[in-house]
């Protein structure tokens, strides 16, 4: 049996769609343009995040999960990646058609984001207090003293030790975990409705990872925020997610409530990911890995993108790309799903 257990939470939240949706992404397409060519890295992603729910977007590096997150904030690297189609709506309002100024007002205030690398994500020449204060005052008409009070409160909520004394610290005086706490404070200071966390614990020590994750979940629960957590770590998914979307080569291949995804994964890729989790009860033997590699986005295979690595692939899988079929709270992009057996 796998070492991962799906955490049960007090006041178990009913899954997904009966709450009002905060973020709706439909048929999102993102292309990366280089000098010679351009190719799609996000191919028609659909995703919904509701209030008071944590949705995990899982996938390996380069599958387009970070691009999806950045596109919500309007922060795709300019001149490199670009949204070429689809719709992103926040509380029913289309984000892609917003003026720059309107989008800017939403950032940090309604939608916040935490990034992967806390070491490089804070301006090295300003104190953390001054940056927090600047962000707070750019959205709220408050005095500097009030802004600093809000900043200290946010830092305390992010569980930064000696929060008030840290306002005058420069980022280099803080450890990686402390810097990520500053990033969390920056993200929650203005009580946003939606928090996007892009691999927030990947760059941190394992011991700190759990604390940061726990902190994020507490803040999310008490504020009833919607949270989109992007990760490649299934252990993270199992411990915090309400719902999970699995992404492969720019497409969502499966989406399900977290317990169902772990107990009854449908898509062969999801099954492979779960099978690849190391099992601590077995001390010897080689680790499982999914055979083959991700197809290059420049030359995607015809048909199902996972077919070249799939042991159950039919002839049809090589010919036509399967649609994402919806069944209640679950959806799946596979025409030949097999029951999951642990190898």
């Amino acid at each position: 049996m796998n070492a991962i257990a799906v955490g049960s939470r007090p006041g178990e939240v009913p899954s997904g769609h009966d709450r009002s949706p905060l973020l709706e992404i439909e048929d999102l397409r993102i292309s990366i343009a280089s000098d010679a060519s351009s190719f799609e890295v996000v191919k028609g992603v659909a995703l919904t995040v509701c209030e008071n729910e944590i949705v995990c977007l899982v996938g390996e590096s380069g599958c387009g999960k970070s691009m999806t997150a950045l596109s919500v904030m309007g922060l795709l690297p300019r001149g490199i990646a670009e949204v070429t189609g689809g719709r992103i709506a926040f509380e029913g309002q289309s984000l892609l058609s917003l003026q720059k100024r309107e989008l800017r007002r939403l950032r940090a205030d309604s939608i916040s984001m935490i990034f992967q690398d806390p070491i490089t994500s804070l301006d090295p020449v300003f104190t953390i207090g001054s940056v927090l204060e600047e962000v707070i005052r750019s959205h709220r008409d408050v005095s500097r003293t009030e802004a600093r009070e809000i900043a200290v409160r946010a830092l305390m909520e992010a569980e930064l030790p000696d929060a008030a004394d840290r306002l005058d610290s420069y980022p280099h005086q803080l450890s990686g975990g402390m810097r990520q706490r500053v990033m969390i404070a920056l993200a929650i200071a203005l009580d946003p409705k939606l928090l996007i966390a892009d691999e927030p614990t990947t760059a941190l020590d394992v011991t700190v990872q759990a604390q940061i994750l726990e902190n994020l979940r507490e803040r999310q629960r008490e504020r009833e925020m919607g949270m989109l957590l992007i990760t490649h770590d299934l252990a993270v998914v199992a411990s915090v997610a309400d719902r999970v979307a699995v992404m492969y080569a720019g497409e969502i291949v499966e989406e399900a409530p977290v317990d169902e995804l772990f107990s009854d994964p449908q898509h062969p890729y999801t099954q492979g990911l779960i099978r690849a989790l190391p099992d601590i009860s077995v001390s010897k033997g080689s680790l499982y890995s999914i055979p083959g590699r991700v197809p290059p986005p420049q030359v995607p295979p015809p048909g199902c993108l996972f077919a070249p690595r799939c042991e159950h692939a039919l002839d049809l899988c090589w010919e036509a790309s399967p649609e994402l079929s919806r069944d209640g709270a679950k959806s799946l992009r596979c025409i030949n799903a097999q029951p999951f057996e642990i190898g």
Binding site: A108, V125, H139
Partner: protein, 306 residues
């Protein structure tokens, strides 16, 4: 504190070594001191006596120690050609050089930084391409040629500015611009690339995610970070300007330290050549020290940790 102390020790060592180098170089460059100081009709006997009086027949190391002793006691001696006190010459010509060099130093940053910022904000526009091509040319053109070209165009042909002289504003313009030219070009390129690097950084993405305006991010955060390498290399521009001043001051007849030094070398005026070489070395060392200090001021990571 420890850092400052070690920099200071380093500075002293550099000054000491270069004083030896300067002293020996001038002795070894050949020529005869008496040629400058005495009329052509002076007898060999008289010349020998003159050398003796100046201590030129002593072993070189002994001459060096005598000389350094005099410098450290504040009296570096007099010129051989006109018997002026070197300290007086330093005050007089140093002031002129300070006017010219200071203006050039100011131009380097007051012109270079804004142009670099403009180029970085309008990346790949015609303005950017124009600025970058010009700066490439400016770095490739040797400044003695540029000086001659400037004299030909603005003084001889157009007649807008005097070709030489001292020390009014009009006379200052041409030499100052020529002296600053390469520094401006370097500063433009450095500013542009530092700005672009900073704009693409993770922390700028964080600030964008924080909803700050692009204008605010650029003016405050991007610029402040981009200034670190520019400020830290500002001291090195002093060295460059000091070096180029020898040429530019001579061409434009600007009576500064550089011109005095060049003339002294040509006339074998040892005391002047030695002393002013040392002054220039001290200026360059000072520039490097400033570069270090400036870097610490601009970059909180290098400040004393609290």
């Amino acid at each position: 504190m420890k850092r400052t102390a070690s920099r200071l020790a380093y500075t002293v060592i550099v000054l000491f070594v270069s004083s030896i180098a300067v002293f020996y170089a001038i002795r070894l460059s050949g020529g005869d001191a008496t040629a400058a100081a005495l009329p052509g009709s002076a007898t060999e006997e008289f010349r020998e006596e003159f050398r003796d009086r100046l201590g030129l027949n002593e072993p070189i190391y002994q001459q060096y120690f005598t000389y350094m002793g005099r410098i450290l006691s504040g009296d570096p001696g007099n010129s051989l050609t006109n018997n002026k006190a070197l300290t007086d010459m330093l005050t007089e010509h140093g002031r002129n050089s300070l006017i010219l060099g200071g203006t050039a130093f100011g131009l380097v940053f007051l012109v270079g930084i804004p142009l670099g910022i403009l180029a970085s904000l309008r990346r790949n526009s015609w303005a950017d391409q124009g600025i970058m091509s010009l700066s490439t040319v400016a770095m490739a053109v040797p400044n003695f040629w540029l000086a001659l070209l400037a004299v030909w165009l603005f003084a001889s042909t157009l007649g807008w500015l005097p070709s030489a002289g001292c020390c009014g504003t009009k006379q200052l313009i041409l030499p100052a611009v020529v002296l600053a030219f390469e520094g401006i070009a370097l500063t433009v390129r450095m500013t542009r690339s530092a700005m672009i690097e900073s704009q693409n950084s993770d922390y700028v993405r964080t600030l964008r995610a924080g909803g700050l305006s692009e204008w605010r991010i650029t003016c405050k955060h991007v610029l402040r970070n981009a200034l670190i390498p520019i400020i830290s290399l500002a001291g090195l521009r002093i060295g460059q300007i000091v070096g180029y001043a020898l040429i530019v001051e001579t061409i434009f007849g600007w009576p500064g330290l550089g011109q005095v030094l060049v003339n002294a070398v040509l006339r074998r005026d040892y005391p002047v050549a030695q002393f002013f070489s040392l002054v220039l070395v001290a200026l360059v060392v000072l520039g490097n020290w400033l570069a270090d200090t400036g870097y610490t001021i601009a970059n909180p990571r290098l400040r004393k940790s609290t």
